[in-house]
């Protein structure tokens, strides 16, 4: 049966501000399906975001929602989760928000392995500000601040989270939406820091300058350029250039931070041990 999204949305806040062809709404619905599947209550769930197109999503979602400063969503979310570990805390962020201005917070939230559920909307670009290049804009692609083509190597976000210590890391696209649903649902059930990076279309600010000027074209791009992680292992580095390696990249049980604090700090302090 189809989910009645309206019970999770602030219907009076719609229509949303996203451009025609934008994929942000596809991920938003995927998140709501996962919330419904795992049975999280609206009152017990906090959704935190930073600044950018993706970070406007919580405003449409009928939960406890916090739209913070640029790059800092994970640090705000850490305070919430640390203070009240019973709350389910979802962080919605973007490629620029999480890995440029918020890069340090991203590394350290991963390292602490605190039970935050990060859904990272990656569209290769700063869309809200009109299309400047981001840490994930591929080499050679055009943006308003790379009019001669981008020379910055792009970030492997999932690899970064995995290396820093996250418990669960998956990557998908809005084209493989059932897979995305499954990854988000799994990430919600993981006791530890989880990241689901989802590639989504920005035809207005990215596609238009890079010969894919519409949403459908960008979906086809995701379809043609996605490589499952198992297959990627057998491919050479140059074959994987600009490909999107999808799948569950990390799924492991590391000690979760708020549990560690409760079991190793609070209990010792209250017994008077150092």
């Amino acid at each position: 049966m189809l989910l009645d999204y309206s019970k999770y949305l602030r219907n009076d806040r719609l229509p949303h501000i996203w451009c025609p062809g934008c994929g942000a709404g596809i991920i938003l619905k995927s998140i709501l399906r996962a919330i419904d599947k795992v049975g999280w209550k609206k009152d017990d769930t906090v959704i935190v975001s930073g600044i950018g197109c993706s970070s406007r999503a919580p405003g449409y979602m009928d939960f406890n929602t916090l739209h913070t400063t640029h790059g800092r969503a994970l640090a705000f979310a850490t305070g919430i989760k640390m203070y009240n570990p019973k709350l389910n805390v979802i962080v919605i962020t973007g490629d620029g928000d999480a890995t440029a201005i918020g890069g340090n917070h991203f590394i350290h939230a991963s390292r602490r392995n605190i039970n935050l559920n990060v859904i990272l909307f990656n569209n290769y670009i700063y869309g809200m500000t009109g299309g400047q290049c981001s840490p994930t804009t591929p080499a050679g692609k055009f943006a308003t601040t790379s009019p001669y083509g981008n020379i910055d190597p792009n970030f492997n976000i999932s690899g970064l989270a995995a290396a820093a210590g996250a418990s669960f890391v998956a990557k998908s696209t809005t084209y493989q939406i059932f897979q995305t649903d499954k990854y988000i649902e799994k990430s919600f059930l993981k006791d530890g820091f989880s990241l689901v990076e989802v590639m989504f279309a920005c035809p207005t600010s990215y596609g238009r300058r890079n010969k894919i000027p519409d949403g459908v074209g960008m979906m086809e791009f995701f379809k043609d350029n996605s490589v499952p992680a198992a297959k990627a292992k057998e491919m050479k580095e140059e074959e994987l250039k600009d490909k999107i390696v999808t799948g569950i990249l990390v799924d492991r049980d590391y000690p979760e931070y708020t549990r560690e604090y409760r079991e190793k700090i609070i209990s010792r302090a209250q017994q008077g041990q150092k």
Binding site: L66, A75, F76, Y83, N104, R268
Partner: protein
């Protein structure tokens, strides 16, 4: 029989003890001299009292975590010094805009930049007021002794919770690191103020109403009151708006807090300030040197009055205008190159305000202040 606790502690430790006594249950910080003892003390004491301590990756994150915890219902604080205070400004602005109660302790060291990590200063008094961008309310308190630091820490939390304004507690390095004998009251004697909770059911709750009271109830995340919090300009519902009329109302309400609550927040002490010729104004550790200087000047026949500012922001303009009226001169003694002196110029004529200060890390001594007093008396022909 009083069960007062008598002990020998530093200002930084007094902050930590007061925090525990007033029920602080969340601290996020980042190490920085000369404030680190506050984090160290609370890393030890908070978990024992059921609270949470977290050392974040930087000062920006620490401020963010404090705001997040406060939204979840915590009585939350951080502590830092000049360079860290600069980094926190972004999210202090967020707390001002979203009206999230929190306390930021800034143990002031010499600046600008890395400056003088271990030496004293009062160089952040203007940054406390205007460090973050845009028109915003802020409260700043400056204790002048270790005992006073304990009580101002208590006040800081009560003000933050009552008015939903971030409170900056400004210690100078001397106050932070100086050990003094203190008598702390029994915990149960403290007046503890909590933020208001809504008296309407969730479906009728409007988070940011423009009421005459100016301060709205603030339910914690997870309490069943679901609402939206944003740093964008917002309307009464908490959602972003571009409607200039609604934005004007929001900014007016935030600004009005500083005006309306200024009399309740004011803490100005004075001695012989009414009938003197010349007034000496100071705050923080400099008040100590000033008291000695005034004693010496009076022994030398000078009829000088003294004012100690404890609530620095909102600034007690009215009180100082009244006290400065009819005086030959006002001298401001401060551990910087003239920051609060400029505020005094708003309270009397420009040429009546004299400044004595230094920012090289050395303590402003009584003899230096006495020399200035004598110089100003001579110039005034008294």
């Amino acid at each position: 029989m009083s069960n007062k606790r008598t002990m020998l502690i530093s200002g930084n430790v007094a902050v930590a003890l007061a925090a525990i006594d007033i029920g602080v249950d969340f601290f996020a910080g980042y190490p920085i001299t000369p404030s680190s003892e506050i984090a160290e003390e609370l890393s030890f004491r908070l978990p024992a009292s059921g609270g949470k301590f977290i050392q974040m990756e930087d000062e920006i994150a620490a401020m963010a975590a404090v705001i997040g915890a406060s939204l979840a219902g915590a009585r939350a604080m951080t502590a830092t010094s000049g360079p860290g205070f600069s980094l926190k400004q972004e999210n202090i602005g967020y707390a001002c805009m979203t009206e999230v109660p929190c306390v930021i302790v800034n143990v002031m060291r010499g600046g600008p930049s890395t400056g003088l990590p271990t030496l004293t200063s009062q160089g952040d008094v203007m940054q406390a007021r205007w460090g973050t961008h845009g028109d915003h309310p802020i409260i700043a308190l400056v204790p002048h002794s270790v005992q006073d630091t304990y009580f101002q820490t208590v006040n800081a939390f009560n003000f933050a919770e009552k008015y939903r304004v971030p409170v900056v507690l400004l210690l100078d390095e001397v106050i932070g690191h100086m050990n003094e004998r203190v008598e702390l009251p029994p915990r149960e004697e403290l007046n503890v103020v909590y933020r208001k909770m809504p008296d309407v059911p969730p479906e009728k709750f409007i988070p940011y109403k423009n009421t005459k009271e100016l301060v709205n109830p603030m339910p914690p995340f997870g309490s069943g009151y679901r609402y939206h919090v944003t740093g964008l300009c917002y309307d009464e519902t908490g959602f972003p708006t571009n409607d200039t009329a609604k934005i004007a109302k929001l900014l007016d309400r935030l600004q009005s807090k500083m005006v309306k609550f200024s009399p309740e927040l004011e803490q100005t002490e004075s001695n012989n300030a009414e009938d003197c010729d010349i007034l000496l104004v100071s705050y923080g550790s400099v008040f100590r040197s000033s008291k000695t200087a005034v004693k010496i000047a009076r022994e030398n026949g000078k009829n000088i009055g003294i004012v100690c500012l404890t609530t620095l922001w909102p600034f007690p303009y009215e009180t100082l205008r009244r006290l400065a009226a009819g005086k030959k001169a006002v001298i401001v003694a401060e551990q910087n190159l003239g920051m609060i002196s400029e505020e005094l110029m708003k309270c009397t004529t420009y040429d009546r305000v004299h400044h004595i200060g230094r920012a090289d890390g050395e303590i402003l001594s009584p003899p230096q202040i006495v020399d200035k007093i004598m110089e100003v008396y001579d110039a005034a022909g008294l």
